[in-house]
Symmetry: C2
Amino acid sequence: MKILPDTSFFLSLLTFGVEEYFVISPSFTRLAADVEIQFCPPDKLKPKPAVKDLVFGKTFTEHMLEIQWVDGEGWHKPQISPFHNLSMHPAAKSLHYSVQFEGMKAYRGVDGKIRLFRPDENMKRMNRTAERASLPTFDGEELIELIKKLIRIDQEWVPHSESSSLYVRPTLISNEDALKVEQPSKALLFVILSPTGPYFSTGFNAVSLLADPQYVRSWPGGCGHTKMGANYGPTLMIQKEAMKKGLQQVLWLYGPDHRLTEVGAMNIMIVLKKKNGGIELVTPPLDGLILPGVTRLSILEIVRSWPEYEVTERDITMAEVVEASKEDRLLEIFGAGTAVVVCPVGEIHYMDKVIKVPTMQQEKPLYKKVYNAILDIQYGRNQHPWAVPID
Amino acid sequence: MKILPDTSFFLSLLTFGVEEYFVISPSFTRLAADVEIQFCPPDKLKPKPAVKDLVFGKTFTEHMLEIQWVDGEGWHKPQISPFHNLSMHPAAKSLHYSVQFEGMKAYRGVDGKIRLFRPDENMKRMNRTAERASLPTFDGEELIELIKKLIRIDQEWVPHSESSSLYVRPTLISNEDALKVEQPSKALLFVILSPTGPYFSTGFNAVSLLADPQYVRSWPGGCGHTKMGANYGPTLMIQKEAMKKGLQQVLWLYGPDHRLTEVGAMNIMIVLKKKNGGIELVTPPLDGLILPGVTRLSILEIVRSWPEYEVTERDITMAEVVEASKEDRLLEIFGAGTAVVVCPVGEIHYMDKVIKVPTMQQEKPLYKKVYNAILDIQYGRNQHPWAVPID
């Protein structure tokens, strides 16, 4: 892992071959190789829960990864050690201001191999977010190596199931013990692992959405395109509003024309029959309001290879959705994200209207086709460069 | 401290005399009285640093206050104990998503008494923020009592200086060990104390501001009117941009007409000579984009009592500031907040223009008059109901 105090500067170096630079500080060049590992004693190993009992983000494995960063010193040696509480100074900056995280998964394939799905994309996004959050950036390839080491140690926690997986949560916080709202001079990167069961154990269920234009998730000039905690904490209250109305998720709108932006903590995908008869998959463009989801990217790349669909990244307003619905041209809406892959939408509650979305009524719905295509890659049924084996 | 699972419901009860309700759960009615105190052993007491050596938010006192909340159980017994690190599960929600905090101060007056400044206003705002952050609300009066107890124990940490003070940081986090983005079922309220030196030990210094409309702090439908960490973390990068240009703070603009909203983490005050000759103090209205600062409120109330000024809460755009500057009608701009009381502005760097603000050139500037009026109250030179003695 290399210290990158100013990413833009170093990115420019990287294009010209940066190796010379790092000869000056060789201690940063082989961080993954420098990892110190302390194993959990055998008598402390925990029984692995049954897949059916797994609740998202509640169960954790036996080991965790930590890497401390200190301004002027850079990244310290990575430590893999038995899972433990963090000892946090109460003034730790991230208990007051800024945090960021990533979400990715490891899958046990049909061949028994464990694979990560496009981890390079998560690393790119995590570094972009670190920069926006004023936290230190790092070498993503090194962190992938460290995550692989951690998963290898806890490999028995990767469920033996083709619908379950091991959720990987890299997190970057500042543990500097100073209250002033300013650049953190200390940061801690840690990675924890949580086995997670199938979202759709009894088949897909369509969710109902609350679309209330008075609540706005993200705005131009903000940080809605990053995976900062700042984008998630403020959504909890609106999620509660939706649940009070018996709905499951929030459909986030933006602007006077009520553009669709995201759904819950997922990207949104809309399948329309075009007026000329073709079928269009629409998703909002990466204009700064939208999280650049790895599942979103993968769906776009996969569907673009299927000639029967036109794929467009463009703004889509509630007026267009309402019109398409009236003209029976609204075919499907689904969320897309790492946790669920896809999540079909059944209805939208918007300004005293209920828009029925016939996602579940399609004979050969797109959401199922992309779900199967992605799972085939994740679980090794389709050997594909996006699925990176752990060993 | 009372459990208030749904504030709006309980607020409606409160107007009709809520005491009957709380008879049902008497364990919540006397939380401040129930505090458990564990004193720091005498040999662990630390020497108090010299006021001149104090850096904001770096030095902490010997004790801290903690109150755990658990969904269904409510607020547990408060604990005051020697200052210690928090043992945080790595999945603690607030290390990933949502945090909130408050900032207030205790002052040692000219009569030796220690006073808090309008703590009821901080408690109101903290409860409003808790609700927006989906964290539990509480009885503000009880928390004030607990904070008084804590300060009494650490009273020797309140600087013996009329320009220094003890910064009080109540913080509300979720320490629930679950990663799902949903209502937290556990929360921890803690209070830490940090003695802080004078901001203007060598007299006032005017700051220079970066006003770059491409960065937006807060937006309608968001949470910019609350004291959530989500409003602060994303500002660090822009603050760094300002400092790279040799400027000290960010002037936050909003909208196509570049309305002034806040400065750094302070409210903004603009003093204009009106076209008809009168003097107007302008500050942006509490429209959801603006933090309702206690210092802001106090300045408005004080200056409204001075007949020579017209006080207006209204939108003010950069175009109006530029025009007033050209016509020599821009008299002063200053920030207002708990940390500094007031912070005079000397210039604004805006779209390749530098607008000079003659704040420091006024003969009898308003910022100094309000500074003195507020310090007179905080340090007990003017006996005033806003200053609440600790005992």
